[in-house]
Symmetry: C2
C-alpha cells in the first residue's frame, strides 16, 4: 500500500469526521493500516495532513470541472445560481463543512492549509470565469464579485444566518 493508495481512504475519513479528530490511530484504522505505517509513508503527521488536504482540494477541483456546463450563463445571477446548485449537491456537503476548518487553519498559518485553500478558490474563480455571460461588461471583475458574494453567503449560512445570506445574495444579484 503506497502513499497514493492510502490518500482516498484518509481523505474520506477527514471529510466525514473533520480535522479535529484526525489523529493517527483513527486515520490508520480507516485506511486499514497502522499508525506506524502512516508515519513510515508520510514522515510525520504534519505532512500527512498537508497531503490529505492537497488530495481533497484536487478531488474538489475535479468535481467542479466535471460539473462544468458547455454553455455560458445568460446573466451574472444565473451564473451564481449554477454554482450554488453545485454546492447543494449532497456529495459536496462534507467538503463544505470541512472547508471552514481549512480556512481557520489557513488564517493561523497551519502548514498545508493555505495552499489547499488557495487552490480551491483559484479553481472556483476559473470556473466562474468560464461561465460568465458572454456580454458581461467586465468578466474578470464580475467573477471576483460573484465569488466574494457567494462565499460570504456560504459563511453566513454556516453560522445560522441563512436568511441573511439569501437576502444579501438577492440584493447583490438583482438585475
Amino acid at each position: 500500500m503506497s502513499r497514493e493508495t492510502l490518500l482516498p481512504a484518509l481523505a474520506a475519513h477527514v471529510l466525514e469526521h473533520g480535522l479535529g479528530s484526525a489523529s493517527l490511530r483513527p486515520l490508520a484504522k480507516a485506511a486499514q493500516t497502522s499508525d506506524r505505517m502512516l508515519i513510515y509513508h508520510f514522515g510525520n503527521k504534519e505532512r500527512l495532513i498537508a497531503d490529505v488536504l492537497g488530495h481533497i482540494a484536487a478531488t474538489y477541483a475535479a468535481a467542479l470541472d466535471a460539473g462544468i456546463g458547455d454553455t455560458r450563463a445568460a446573466t451574472r445571477s444565473q451564473c451564481a445560481s449554477r454554482i450554488l446548485a453545485q454546492t447543494r449537491e449532497p456529495t459536496m456537503q462534507p467538503f463544505l463543512i470541512l472547508w471552514w476548518e481549512i480556512v481557520a487553519g489557513s488564517a493561523r498559518n497551519a502548514p498545508g492549509y493555505r495552499e489547499a485553500a488557495e487552490a480551491v478558490m483559484s479553481r472556483l474563480l476559473e470556473w466562474l470565469e468560464t461561465q460568465m455571460p458572454e456580454d458581461d461588461p467586465d468578466p474578470h471583475a464580475g467573477a471576483r464579485y460573484l465569488l466574494t458574494l457567494i462565499e460570504g453567503a456560504q459563511m453566513l449560512s454556516a453560522v445560522g444566518h441563512a436568511r441573511t445570506a439569501r437576502e444579501g445574495l438577492a440584493e447583490g444579484l438583482k438585475a
Copy 2:
C-alpha cells in the same frame, strides 16, 4: 476568583493561541488557577469553552458599539469602508483569526459555537443598519448585501486571496 473573574484571562488566552490549543492546563495557567478549579467553576470543558466564546462575542459586540459613529454614511460604499476600517484595527486581528475557528465549529454543530457566531453576525448587521445611508432605497436589504460581501472578502483574504477580495469588493461597491 469567580467564573466571571476568570473569563477575561481565559478569553485572552484563546484569542492569542486559538481554540486548538485551548486545553485545561494551559488555560488554567493563563488565568492563574488550576485545571481542577476550571472544572469546579464551569463543570466541564465543553461549558467552559461555550462560556469563553460567549464572553468573546460580547466583548467584540461592545467594541463595535464603541466604534459606532453618530452620523450615517453617505453611500453604501462608505458604509462598507467604515466597517472595513474597524476590522483593520490591530486589537481586532486576534478576533478575526479566531473567527474562522468559530465558524468551523458552528458548521460542525460544536456546542456553544453557533450561538456565539450568530450573536456576532447579528450585532454586525445591526451596526450596518444604523450606518446605512439615509437615502438608501432599501436599507434592510442593503445591510444584508454589505454584510455578505464584506464577509466573503474577509474569507478570501484569510486564504491568501486578498487581491481577489479587493477586486470583488470594488466591483460590488462601484456606484
